[in-house]
């Protein structure tokens, strides 16, 4: 007991009467100690408080989650033959009674409705869309879109997009070229789903980059959405925005749009090497044998990456016109070039493998090993 008393007295004195008499560095040290101790204690309090609040919220959340998910699961018991109005009539009063002002309830109801809407088709989807509007949740989504905060904007856009609130497409368009990349992407994705007459209009006005990640997302949406009418993407292949060109090239490839052939050939001379590479890939994939010549023309000026892609494309086309060229590639200094050329020869379904076997007998040991590699189907290229 005595020890603690002396200790506290010492600290008290140090920080009061004696503080001014210390050399300045010790004084600063004392102040830093005080600050650190107070900060640490405050952090403890904050963390404890945070944990308590979390536990409390979790309890409330679980209670409501149980209630709301049970309620929604009841949607299942209705049949396709039941009338839509009857089902809506059954659920509307129940949902209306929920304390929607409570943020937990509001969030839960919306997110669960979205999950059902996303995963089920048929009656459930239809009923949920109607209920969403009847409960006025569509208005709330609209308000969110006009919120100043980008996170809330995104939330609103996602809700509207999932629930198919198409009248807000005109409001979303202005965000499709926003500076904030995340917002821009969400807006573009939603616009494709929501716009009734011109879902790809945003490509005309896109000045900002469509990042690769966004291209992945947009590509998924465009290629998986069966209701979408697919335009000819060649229209955007001369866009000044390289990322638009790239996205459209990927779509041309996926939808096998042969009408874009000429544009794609033109792009072989593009200044952006990624576009050149993709164009070559498409020429191979669509087997555009008319373009072979053009590829051959540019071949020797290209970096290795694109050379490889051209060899691959020549292999896919397998017209036979460039057989000698491909065979002569095994004298290249680069193993990757050799290997790609050999794979290209192999691609000819009729004579490919036999030509490789022929080559095998005329070439060096090193090349023989490579040919062995290429002929081994257990190795995926």
């Amino acid at each position: 007991m005595n020890f603690f008393e002396t200790f506290f007295d010492y600290i008290k004195e140090t920080y009061t009467e004696r503080l001014l008499y210390f050399p300045s560095n010790i004084r600063v040290s004392l102040l830093i100690i005080l600050f650190c101790v107070v900060a640490t204690l405050e952090l403890y309090l904050y963390m404890a408080f945070r944990r308590l609040r979390q536990a409390n919220e979790k309890l409330k959340f679980e209670k409501w989650q149980e209630y709301i998910s049970n309620m929604l699961a009841n949607l299942i018991i209705f049949d396709e033959s039941d009338k839509t109005e009857d089902i809506v009539g059954h659920f509307y009063p129940k949902m209306k009674k929920l304390p929607l002002r409570n943020p937990i309830v509001n969030k839960l109801l919306i997110s669960e409705m979205l999950v059902y809407h996303k995963n089920f088709t048929g009656k459930i989807e239809e009923v949920l869309s109607i209920l969403y509007r009847k409960l006025g949740l569509d208005q709330k989504s609209k308000q969110k879109i006009n919120n100043r905060n980008w996170e809330i904007k995104i939330e609103g856009i996602r809700e509207a997009s999932e629930m198919g609130i198409s009248e807000i497409a005109s409001e979303i368009i202005k965000y499709t070229d926003d500076e904030n990349a995340l917002l821009r992407m969400e807006a573009q994705a939603a616009y494709i789903k929501l716009s009734e007459n011109d879902p790809f209009h945003f490509l005309d006005r896109a000045q900002e980059r469509i990042l690769d990640w966004h291209q992945v997302v947009l590509f998924e949406i465009i290629t998986k959405n069966k209701k979408l009418s697919i335009p000819s993407f060649s229209k955007w292949l001369h866009s000044p925005n390289d990322t638009v060109v790239l996205l459209c090239l990927k779509l041309v490839e996926h939808f096998m749009q042969f009408d874009a052939a000429e544009e794609v050939e033109r792009l072989l001379k593009h200044h952006n090497s990624r576009i050149v590479k993709k164009s070559v890939e498409i020429i191979g994939k669509l087997e555009l044998s008319d373009a072979e010549e053009h590829m051959f023309e540019v071949y020797f000026d290209q970096p290795e990456e694109i050379k490889l892609e051209i060899l691959n494309a020549l292999g896919k086309i397998s017209s036979g016109n460039y057989n000698d060229f491909l065979s002569s590639r095994i004298y290249s200094n680069h193993i990757r070039i050799k290997r790609e050329a050999l794979y290209a020869i192999k691609r000819d379904p009729e004579k490919g493998e036999s030509r490789l076997r022929e080559l095998y007998h005329q070439t060096t040991l090193e090349n023989q090993a490579l040919i062995g590699h290429v002929l081994d189907n257990r190795i995926k290229s």
């Binding site: 050399p23 560095n25 010790i26 600063v28 040290s29 004392l30 830093i32 100690i33 650190c36 101790v37 900060a39 640490t40 952090l43 403890y44 904050y46 963390m47 945070r50 944990r51 996170e151 995104i154 990349a181 995340l182 969400e186 980059r209 990042l211 690769d212 990640w213 966004h214 291209q215 992945v216 997302v217 590509f219 998924e220 990927k250 193993i335 990757r336 290997r339 090993a369 490579l370 062995g372 590699h373 002929l375 081994d376 257990r378 190795i379 995926k380 290229s381």
Partner: protein
């Protein structure tokens, strides 16, 4: 003499004070930076749907490279969990680095391997590859096993790079527990940054006392032993605070050897992993950065704070000491190999900020601390110490480090909150009180020992690297804070 001692004492006190102030100031700055970066990442990431990239044909292709040396006990299970990661376009390459036990035979039998006519393109130098094997079973078609002559971890990774057929390479320790969405999260920056991304690194977390079944992490627990618990604290501080801040500055120097995703072409251009250093993970990133500066290309090294990789930390003083000793040597070697970077404006952030930081904080800090302590003991034995002032100075450093650890724990609480049990949180906070007294002096001791080893026996190393990497569980440097 007396006068001199008195002046020296004042000077010594001042020196400690200003040095401490400088170090603490840097940490405060780094903490602020990491707070900004962390909150930005958390906010952005909550809007990402990773499933899209999983299915997309546009996602980059990835080769997982996992060197294995004498891993017979766990290899089958480790491979199985690597094969079940959530990603579309990836392959798993296990490099058997001349194991002396039955590692290879076990893989051969269980996965029904057969040799294929693989003609290896030795783009990077590595020891002879004896054979490349694939499984006969279609369900293991993602698996490739490379059997090679022993050459150490770097050499094994280089061999894997030569065999890889994908765009990106994920270099991991085979005994790590890899979270299922690890590739997804690490690959994403390659698709979204304005500049070319050359590498992304993941966090390493400590799996001691956690529940693991079939190679999957089921439940996170606080390590029961004190030694790994201190390391939990150390890792949280280093990864959540240190690296996040460096990522913000685009000056991140190390990607832990336990998990890093690299652009294969750049790795090949710079010649792969260096076999002459025990700090190969740090050295590679430095070399890749250099290369990009020399090519005048804008680039980024990104760091993902999500807990993606869990590993068993040494719970034994001897093994831990060996690990830290090696880290120190790795740091010295890397710094020495790239000494021309020091305050070289040609290399931007790397030369002006990252390199000097590493030199002063990672290499010199433990030495200065050690010297300071020695002088303190000397002065004390001569009776020339103002005990009160010294204690106040020491307390300042102590309370600052406790506060810093507490902030780090707060970061963890507000981001991933892996330790869900309240009891575990309390344990961690208590550890932060003991750590500066019990654990920190040990790390200083090991670091100093590493320096001595390095400068005394220069010729020892070749032999040391060739021993394999059994105890290199996480060959990464955690930034030692204070």
């Amino acid at each position: 003499m007396r006068d001199f001692l008195v002046t020296f004492e004042t000077f010594f006190n001042n020196a400690i004070f200003y040095y401490a102030l400088f170090v603490m100031g840097s940490y405060v700055l780094l903490t602020l930076l990491s707070a900004i970066e962390m909150s930005g990442y958390m906010k952005k990431n909550s809007y990402v749907n990773y499933r899209e990239i999983l299915v997309s044909p546009l996602a980059p292709s990835v080769s997982i490279l996992a060197p294995a040396f004498n891993e017979e006990a766990t290899i089958i299970e480790n491979i199985r969990s690597l094969l079940s990661l959530h990603y579309g376009n990836y392959e798993v390459i296990i490099i058997n680095d001349g194991s002396k036990d039955s590692t290879f035979q076990r893989m051969f039998d269980y996965y029904q391997l057969e040799q294929v006519n693989f003609s290896v393109d030795y783009q990077i130098k590595c020891n002879e590859i004896r054979g490349v094997y694939k499984s006969k079973l279609p369900s293991f078609s993602k698996l490739t096993v490379v059997d090679k002559v022993n050459g150490g971890k770097s050499d094994a990774l280089n061999a894997g790079i030569n065999v890889s057929a994908k765009d990106l390479i994920l270099c991991i320790d085979v005994d790590c527990i890899v979270q299922e969405d690890a590739i997804l999260k690490l690959a994403k920056p390659y698709l979204e940054e304005k500049y070319q991304v050359i590498a992304t690194g993941g966090v390493v977390r400590i799996a001691n006392s956690c529940r693991v079944e079939d190679g999957k992490l089921i439940e996170v627990n606080m390590p029961r032993n004190l030694l790994p618990r201190f390391q939990v604290l150390e890792y949280i501080r280093a990864f959540l605070m240190g690296r996040m801040a460096w990522s913000r500055l685009n000056g991140l120097l190390i990607i832990s050897g336990a998990m890093g995703l690299f652009d294969k072409n750049v790795v090949i251009k710079v010649g792969g992993y260096d076999q002459n250093t025990v700090g190969e993970d740090m050295e590679l990133v430095v070399r890749m950065r250099r290369y990009m500066y020399e090519q005048d290309r804008r680039f980024k090294v990104v760091y993902i704070p999500d807990p993606l990789c869990w590993t068993e930390a040494p719970a034994d003083l001897k093994i831990l000491g060996r690990q830290r000793n090696r880290w120190t040597r790795g740091t010295i070697e890397t710094l020495w190999m790239h000494k021309d970077l020091f305050f070289n404006p040609r290399y931007g952030v790397l030369g002006m900020l990252s390199y000097p930081y590493w030199l002063f904080f990672e290499w010199l800090a433990p030495i200065i601390e050690f010297l300071g302590l020695s002088v303190f003991i000397l002065l004390a034995s001569l009776g020339h110490i103002n005990w009160e002032f010294s204690l106040i100075l020491i307390s300042m450093v102590y309370f600052f480090s406790v506060a810093l650890s507490t902030v780090a724990i707060l970061f963890e609480e507000m981001s991933y909150q892996q330790y869900t049990k309240g009891k575990d949180l309390v344990k961690l906070l208590l550890a932060s009180f003991l750590e500066p007294i019990l654990y920190h002096p040990l790390t200083v001791f090991w670091a100093v020992k590493g320096n001595i080893h390095k400068f005394r026996g220069k010729n020892n190393w070749g032999a040391m690297t060739r021993k394999g990497f059994k105890d290199q569980h996480i060959s990464t440097e955690t930034e030692q804070m204070t």
